[in-house]
């Protein structure tokens, strides 16, 4: 399920591709055992779960988000740890939604994730974990984007969030590149690629279409009608919203 398998080389020394990844450096990592005999990852001296009772702590977190889970059957969980809160979320989701639910978990730390797979008993097709993904790469994944478009409920695992605060804040406030030249990493269809090829790569999509098709008296072709239909639809909707 996880996309982490090709990320084995992302160890503590090379997860430094952007600022937010710096905080992922593992100066110190260990796995402790709680009073209730549950394993607890400790990253840079931060305990990711309660050292007394991780299950009780996880149940309390999910209880706090009960009203959210009642209306959202899709969750985006920020921070995996060893997944005790995920287990609790599954229990509540299955109670509310049967098998009709999905959880995507973002875990910035590869080591935590690999130990989670070692120790966790969760084996559930409704869970998808992205581990140690650079934010920019995450937003290139169509399935992740599609998931966000469905407006999932967001639950943050407090210990993980605090530990990787900068990473998660950057994830939530990410600004995608806007110029036409950036599209190549995001588009797959040959038609769209062809359409985009003829646009000014330094402009955003709206300005590029305006420049190519609304300021020149050039002959309009099928691909141009595609772009113009797109442009008119977007502009029309923004006008309806009073944004223009």
């Amino acid at each position: 399920m996880s996309d982490h398998s090709n990320k084995e080389n992302l160890n503590s020394s090379n997860i430094t591709k952007d600022n937010s990844m710096e905080e992922l450096s593992l100066y110190r990592y260990e796995v402790k055992v709680s009073k209730t005999e549950h394993k607890v990852p400790v990253v840079n001296d931060v305990h990711l779960h309660s050292i007394y009772n991780p299950i009780k702590e996880a149940a309390a977190l999910i209880e706090k988000n009960k009203s959210l889970i009642k209306v959202k059957n899709e969750l985006l969980v920020l921070g995996l740890g060893f997944g005790y809160h995920i287990e609790e979320a599954i229990l509540l989701l299955e109670k509310e939604w049967g098998q009709n639910y999905k959880i995507i978990v973002i875990e910035p730390n590869e080591k935590v994730y690999s130990d989670y797979t070692k120790y966790s008993l969760i084996n559930n097709n409704n869970i998808h974990i992205y581990a140690a993904e650079e934010i920019v790469e995450l937003y290139k994944k169509k399935e992740f984007v599609d998931y966000l478009l469905n407006k999932p409920g967001i639950i943050s695992h407090p210990a993980s969030f605090n530990l990787y605060e900068s990473y998660f804040k950057n994830l939530l406030s990410y600004k995608a590149p806007r110029t036409v030249s950036s599209f190549s990493s995001y588009i797959t269809s040959s038609r769209v690629k062809e359409c985009v090829n003829n646009l000014n790569p330094d402009l955003d999509i709206t300005s590029a279409i305006d420049e190519k098709l609304y300021t020149n008296n050039t002959s309009v072709k099928d691909d141009d009608h595609f772009l113009m239909a797109f442009q008119e639809m977007v502009k029309g909707s923004l006008q309806l919203e009073g944004r223009e």
């Binding site: 937003y139 290139k140 169509k142 984007v145 966000l148 478009l149 990410y174 600004k175 995608a176 590149p177 806007r178 950036s182 599209f183 190549s184 990493s185 995001y186 588009i187 797959t188 269809s189 038609r191 769209v192 359409c195 985009v196 955003d204 999509i205 008296n217 002959s219 309009v220 072709k221 099928d222 009608h225 595609f226 113009m228 239909a229 797109f230 008119e232 639809m233 977007v234 029309g236 909707s237 923004l238 944004r243």
Partner: protein, 550 residues
């Protein structure tokens, strides 16, 4: 069987109103119809009977991908392409651009089809038409203050299909039908020995200028209740509508029945009503499709002459049309609840036609059918006979030019309506024909001089300018003028010599059309004289009989 794609990128009401055309095509047995709509309005499309496939564009999703900063806009293009490829990867026998706006026109232009019906763009981004009906829809009706034709009829003419009267229009479920019948019958017979009429009231539209004021709705309900009529408030399942309905219901201490349902269930409810009172909404079109009579209260931006109710059992209450500009700026309403109640009682046969009174400043129309389709006849209230006569005369002209039919029924209707200003109207119209013809001949003359090599282009442009000014006329002559403008604007770029020939051909075409305006006016005038003479003779005979009897 022709494989058809009908593109309708407008809202719920337009999707329902396209069901008449879809029904006519499907009933003819010659068409396999698929439709393309925005995902957010698919709910209405799903209720239309006889549609083979519904394709959607998820506009909201694409807009989110475009405007949200977290997503790269490449995704938005990908999504748009994914949605469109469901129709662009197929070959169509005919594509109908029903919604006739810019997005649908670009999509029509890029599709592969043997025939495109409705507007498409040429490679020079000019409007391309395949018939005068399309031009009438796009460039003529849109410019007229008072449309002489209903959109539904123009679409039927564009496609070349007769209006079907057989019903196969909306899907309903047996379960919803049974529940609606049971519940509404319960209300009907709630008081022993009584069988009450049930009136549905659609409370709101998405456009504020079209709404019936809340105070008026309350007065209407009170008045109908006092006449032992049961009312049901119809609302969409949204928080806003629930809140506004609750406010009205508070006035009645919560005793009103409010029906909150999706479109599918709503069809069953509307079928079981005796009548519906509604502003210009999707439900108005729905009631047409299930043939439940409705009183359409046409206010603000609601264009009833183009898209009003077409059920001949319905009525339309409008501010006198001379006081309307059919825009959302037209928010001043002195709408009286008495007018709504009187119209509703007339509609349900609870009040006689003669005793029905409509107050000053409002007109009650009834839809009727003639050889062009549906139009509206002013039956009560304040009527500007000149405007009404001109609207019917315009229909007569369109019938004569586009259908090549000499239908006398238009003239008969005009004679029924003609008031004291009839002579002034016909004289104005004739003067307009003379003036326009004079300007047309001037344009033809200067064009011929260009063709003969004289340096007359400035003169020609001036005289064409004079001629085009008649597009603004409020007489029938504006119609041939608007047609000329549309033909000239859509002409492809060509060599000067060909261009001159093309313009000349269009000017002569207009000359023929002006001749037809004149013929229409002459027929009306002759019939009027004959009618007057017949009336005089009838009066003389009746006087003589009266005297002899004495």
């Amino acid at each position: 069987m022709k494989k058809i794609l009908l593109i309708n990128l407008r809202r719920f009401g337009d999707i329902y109103s396209s069901a008449h055309l879809i029904n006519s095509m499907v009933q003819s047995g010659n068409y396999d119809v698929s439709i393309l709509v925005y995902k957010e309005f698919e709910k209405a499309a799903l209720n239309i009977e006889g549609v083979s496939n519904i394709y959607t564009i998820d506009r909201k999703r694409i807009i989110t991908l475009t405007k949200s900063e977290i997503f790269n806009n490449g995704y938005a293009l990908e999504e748009f392409n994914k949605d469109l490829s469901t129709v662009t990867t197929q070959d169509w026998d005919e594509v109908i651009n029903f919604s006739n706006e810019r997005v649908s026109t670009h999509i029509t232009s890029l599709l592969s089809s043997n025939r495109k019906i409705g507007l498409e763009f040429t490679s020079e981004m000019k409007n391309a038409y395949s018939s005068d009906w399309e031009m009438l829809l796009n460039d003529v009706i849109t410019e007229l203050d008072f449309s002489p034709m209903h959109f539904n009829d123009i679409y039927h003419q564009m496609v070349g299909v007769d209006t079907s009267k057989n019903s196969l229009k909306l899907k309903t479920s047996t379960n919803h039908n049974e529940n609606a019948f049971k519940n509404i019958n319960f209300l009907r017979q709630a008081e022993k020995g009584k069988n009450k009429k049930i009136v549905g009231i659609q409370l709101f539209t998405s456009e504020e200028s079209k709404n019936i004021p809340e105070k008026t709705i309350i007065e209407v309900i009170e008045n109908l209740h006092s006449k032992d009529i049961v009312t049901m408030l119809l609302i969409a399942p949204t928080e806003d509508e629930k809140e506004r309905a609750a406010k009205i219901n508070d006035h009645f201490e919560g005793r009103l029945v409010t029906v909150e349902s999706d479109f599918h269930a709503l069809t069953s409810v509307v079928i079981n009503l005796d009548c519906l009172i509604t502003p210009d909404t999707a439900i108005k079109h729905l009631s047409d499709l299930v043939e439940t009579p409705c009183l359409e209260v046409s206010l603000g931006a609601s264009p009833f002459l183009k898209q009003g109710s077409i059920n001949e059992q319905s009525l339309i209450l409008s501010k006198t049309i001379e006081d309307r500009d059919f825009s959302n700026k037209d928010t001043n309403t002195d709408l009286r609840s008495d007018d709504i109640v009187n119209s509703t009682l007339l509609l349900m046969g609870l009040k006689s036609f003669n005793s029905t009174h409509i107050g000053e400043g409002y007109t009650l129309y009834r839809p009727y059918k003639d050889s062009l389709g549906t139009s509206y006849f002013a039956v009560k209230g304040e009527v500007n006979s000149e405007l009404e006569v001109q609207r019917i005369a315009s229909r007569m002209y369109i019938s004569k030019t586009l259908l090549e039919s000499n239908d006398d029924s238009f003239s008969e209707m005009i004679l029924e309506l003609k008031g004291e200003n009839f002579k002034r109207w016909i004289s104005n119209e004739k003067e307009a024909v003379t003036r326009t013809t004079k300007d047309l001949l001037g344009a033809i003359r200067s064009l011929i001089q260009i063709g003969e090599g004289a340096n007359q282009s400035k003169n020609f442009i001036n005289s064409l300018g004079h001629l085009m000014a008649h597009c603004e006329d409020s007489t029938i002559t504006s119609i041939p003028s608007l047609f000329l403008r549309a033909r000239l604007e859509s002409a492809p770029t060509m060599a000067l010599e060909d261009s001159v020939k093309d313009v000349e051909k269009n000017l002569y075409k207009m000359k023929n059309e002006l001749q037809k305006v004149y013929e229409v006016l002459k027929t009306i005038e002759d019939n009027s004289r004959k009618h007057e003479a017949d009336t005089v003779i009838e009066n003389m005979v009746s006087n003589r009989v009266h005297q002899e009897t004495l």
